[in-house]
Amino acid sequence: MSAASLVVHGLGKTFRLAHRGGIELPVLSGFDLTLGPGECVVLIGPSGIGKSTVLRCVYGNYLPGGGHILVRHGGRLIDLVGAHHRTMMEVRRRTLGYVSQFLRAVPRVPTLDVVADPLLRLGVAVGAARARAAELLERLGLPERLWSLPPQTFSGGEQQRVNIARGFAVEYPVLLLDEPTAALDAANRSRVAALIDDAKQRGAAVLGIFHDLDFADAVGTRFLRMAAAER
């Protein structure tokens, strides 16, 4: 247990919609999770139960309503709930990777640089970053003629592969994957599964949401069924 990569304890999240009569939507209450290196925990449960909310709270694009989110960052276990934004930014740069369903990239930037960007932010030299980006795009079967083009005009499946390559460019110790394969065919799904397996091999802790149960079976080491928050 002491080697846990991610410990979520008592996580709560309620959305308050000021312009809908101040309505409160409780999504998470008392949510617990422990994730170790090399593990891939799959969150399961009906849509709306809060699977994505857990991932977003961990990554910090949702503000947790309470509880603790402990992440092993540079050998130290630090609480992200209430953490300074400088700490949060550093944890995102080095420790936490997050792949969502949709690619969000600056227009006009070539695909290769979109994928290399997280490495450049870490201070990796442009050449090495692009080489790593190319390696990932190749593994994901994205045709080389597309690498110099911005991904905005690509198909859904192509964009999703660019997004996955970007999310895997840095070898993050903790990976959060939110339906990364929703738009992919079987051949491409198995390429993504191989990437996830490699990440587990090198000791990454993976927390994922996968709509496709066969895919979840293939990469998951443990399943966590979520229950509705107390209202």
Binding site: V7, A18, H19, T87, E90
Partner: protein, 273 residues
């Protein structure tokens, strides 16, 4: 921490955070009876981009003008950490020293290139001028550096000796950015830098700005009303309304999970792109 301790996983102490580059506290400004800015406080770190968003009249430009020395706030302080580690309140620095700071450490990029460029001299002279203000004297070196900066901003150096009015709007804006960044400022103020440009030109400029900010590790305060621009460029977002900062946080957190009723309205009012 007792809950976490129950798991026998007490967290380590929170990592130390380096001191900020700029710490503004309690900034206020009135024009007659109208409050343009009230109780504005924030901190900014080296290499960090802070976007200030809000509707017209929210106080964004007042804040930018007061910090960049174009206007005087009625109250508050803005502690700036100089290269030697000492901090000064830039609002009480006095005109001469503040102008010196603006020349050596800071840069301003205006919405309208006409406010940031001199149209009577060549494109190259516009960039070289800033270098000379900071002590450069060697003509050939300067010309080489200017050419280098024009190329970085995707302006053909062959056009160095042309006057800015022969350039397109997007090129003028890129020239203004070259003029500002050539002296490697540590803090840059950007006032709606893509405001007057066509959408296709905006994207190109955003990409250039993003790359330069990362390479030079310059801190920036970006005033914009465009949430998409803020999402692309900014690490953090401050939302202003009626002269006050109503919400401040990591850009994606503020946009994906807005807390303040006004931010919720602002985010909900934008057409998804």
């Amino acid at each position: 921490m007792s809950d976490a301790a129950a798991l026998e996983l007490a967290p380590d102490a929170a990592p130390a955070v380096a001191p900020p580059l700029l710490a503004a506290r309690g900034l206020a400004k009135r024009y007659g009876r109208r409050t343009a800015m009230a109780d504005v406080s924030f901190e900014l770190w080296p290499g960090e981009v802070l976007a200030v968003v809000g509707e017209s009249g929210a106080g964004k430009s007042t804040l930018l003008r007061c910090l960049s020395g174009q206007d005087e706030p009625d109250a508050g302080e803005a502690m700036y950490r100089r290269l030697d580690g000492t901090a000064v309140d830039v609002l009480r620095l006095g005109d001469v020293r503040r102008r010196l700071l603006l020349r050596t450490d800071w840069g301003v990029i205006h919405q309208n290139p006409r406010d940031g460029l001199r149209f009577g001299v060549s494109a190259g002279a516009n960039v070289a001028e800033r270098l000379m203000e900071n002590g450069a004297r060697h003509y050939a070196d300067m010309r080489a550096e200017v050419a280098d900066w024009l190329m970085r901003l995707e302006i053909d150096p062959e056009r160095m000796d042309e006057l800015p009015h022969t350039f397109s709007g997007g090129m003028q804006q890129r020239l203004q950015i070259a003029r500002c960044l050539v002296t490697r400022p540590r803090l840059v103020f950007l006032d709606e830098p893509t405001g007057g440009l066509d959408v296709s030109v905006q994207a190109r400029l955003l990409d250039l700005l993003r790359t330069l900010v990362r390479e030079l590790e310059v801190a920036a305060i970006l005033v914009t009303h465009d949430l998409a621009v803020a999402r692309m460029l900014a690490d953090r977002l401050a939302v202003m309304r009626d002269g006050r900062v109503v919400e401040l946080g990591l850009t994606d957190q503020v946009l994906d999970d807005p807390q303040h009723p006004y931010t919720q309205l602002l985010v909900a009012s934008v057409l998804p792109a």
